[in-house]
Symmetry: C2
Subunit: 287 residues, 2 copies
């Protein structure tokens, strides 16, 4: 038994990135996974929806015969809180290039009964098996160079009071054109753009894209609205395995009406590939 | 018993529009609906995905306590064919303003076993209960006046060979900028725009919007690709009850890569309201 090429379980755990550690799931029985929702990915007291989606996405990728989420829709039912959770997955159909499944995340009420937090329906494939053809007409939106963009540390008086633990997990650099809200001068445009990375340097992959599409401040801040924009539904298409390096995330809202708004996100990698597209329906803040 | 204000069942059936007649569902038992997929909504031999979504949407609207689809995601598993089908619905959660449910459409294999065609996850609300605030920054794309647009009857040599029964159900008028494909001169742009109505004059509502988002020729035709673009997943947000009159439907593809493409649709009503937004992931044609 060689010790030189082997890593101890403790060393392996220590080597895990924060993202991989906090989205880990443990198989309890066929289709059922235990998880621990980390307090490290909260904004005020709410657990970030993109982090939760990545956790569900990891469980589904383990359960289904294909590894990567090609299209994944999540309906957010009740607010998740840090602590234990269980994920129940089901295979809907298995095909040659795509398989489809559902996943539900539950937490426990005081009396021990399960309360469903999120329901997911997704089709998975293998990004590594896709042909190389690219006929994309989309071009990346304008981003200021990363060194001219603003991190949370640049903001002496955060517009969001209270703790935002997720800010310590992310290396988020907001484009100067989208930071007016932080100094009380929102642009009035429903746009938010940022360079996105994980603070510990973990490189992007299909799962971290599920986090990236829902990790920026809401576009409603730049529309001059304060307060919460709870997600009703978020659908993400992962179109390509991202190249190493920082991602660029651009989010746009065009239709704020009737108490709801959509957020359209696109994610570009360092190789200028459009690697993910998402849209969510959220409740508009009252303010 | 008054007969003057009463309509006989036969007269009611005769008064039903083609769309309402062909998307009708019959409650068999709690949560289970029988349906008949009509051959009247086929393209070649495939049953149109928007028609199927409307049929599933009607069953879910009957099952859930809220009437209107606010956000509905459909994963298309196996090709549907005209004939009998059964829809099984389940309530995921019931809230004050939104309720969430799933629906599955099955058809029967030769040995009588059920084969799942489509799985849907949706959140329903009441469009009539929404506040009137509209802060939409989106503007309708340019459409030529309806009298300058092209109907199927204007095309002497249809590019799609074979019967397309759905063409008789719809009053579709394609914008002149998007009809190059029909004469062998596609624009090269991933755009398709059309005025949309039902041929028998039935006015639009939330359910017919589910048809409208997937009833135009595929954008891939204008990209110079022939052949089929089977839908993997289609998510639609219904944002407003449409005003009477023709709809304008605009569909855009920006990212054709790795054998897949997205189609983004927006639907505008006669009152210039953005009434629906949708995105689908589809397999790109080989051609």
């Amino acid at each position: 038994m060689s010790t030189s090429t082997e890593t101890s379980p403790a060393a392996e755990a220590a080597a895990l990135s924060e993202f991989d550690r906090d989205t880990a799931v443990t198989l309890r029985e066929a289709g059922v996974y235990d998880a621990e929702l980390s307090a490290g990915w909260t904004i005020i007291h709410a657990v970030n929806g993109g982090y939760l989606l990545a956790l569900l996405g990891r469980a589904l990728g383990d359960h289904l015969p294909h590894p990567d989420p090609f299209t994944i829709s999540a309906h957010y039912l009740t607010p998740s809180v840090p602590g234990p959770a269980v994920i129940r997955t089901e295979t809907v159909r298995t095909g040659r290039t795509l398989s489809t499944g559902t996943a539900s995340l539950y937490q426990y009420a005081e009396d021990g009964t399960e309360v469903e937090r999120i329901r997911v329906l997704a089709s998975y494939g293998d990004l590594g098996a896709l042909p190389d053809d690219v006929r994309t007409s989309a071009v990346p939106p304008a981003f200021a160079p990363i060194e001219q963009c603003f991190s949370a540390a640049d903001n002496p008086a955060p517009a969001i009071p209270g703790s935002s633990a997720i800010a310590d997990r992310l290396d988020l650099r907001l484009d100067p054109s989208c930071v007016g809200w932080a100094i009380g001068a929102p642009s009035g445009k429903g746009e938010m753009r940022a360079w996105f990375g994980l603070a510990d340097g973990r490189e992007p992959d299909a799962l971290s894209l599920l986090l990236a599409v829902d990790a920026l401040p809401p576009t409603s801040f730049e529309l001059g609205l304060k307060g919460w924009t709870p997600t009703v539904e978020l659908t993400t298409h992962v179109r390509c395995r991202p190249a190493p390096g920082p991602l660029r995330v651009s989010i746009t809202t065009r239709n704020l009406a009737g108490g709801f708004l959509e957020e359209d996100a696109e994610v570009w990698d360092s190789a200028d590939r459009l690697v993910a597209q998402s849209r969510q329906l959220a409740r508009a803040p009252r303010g």
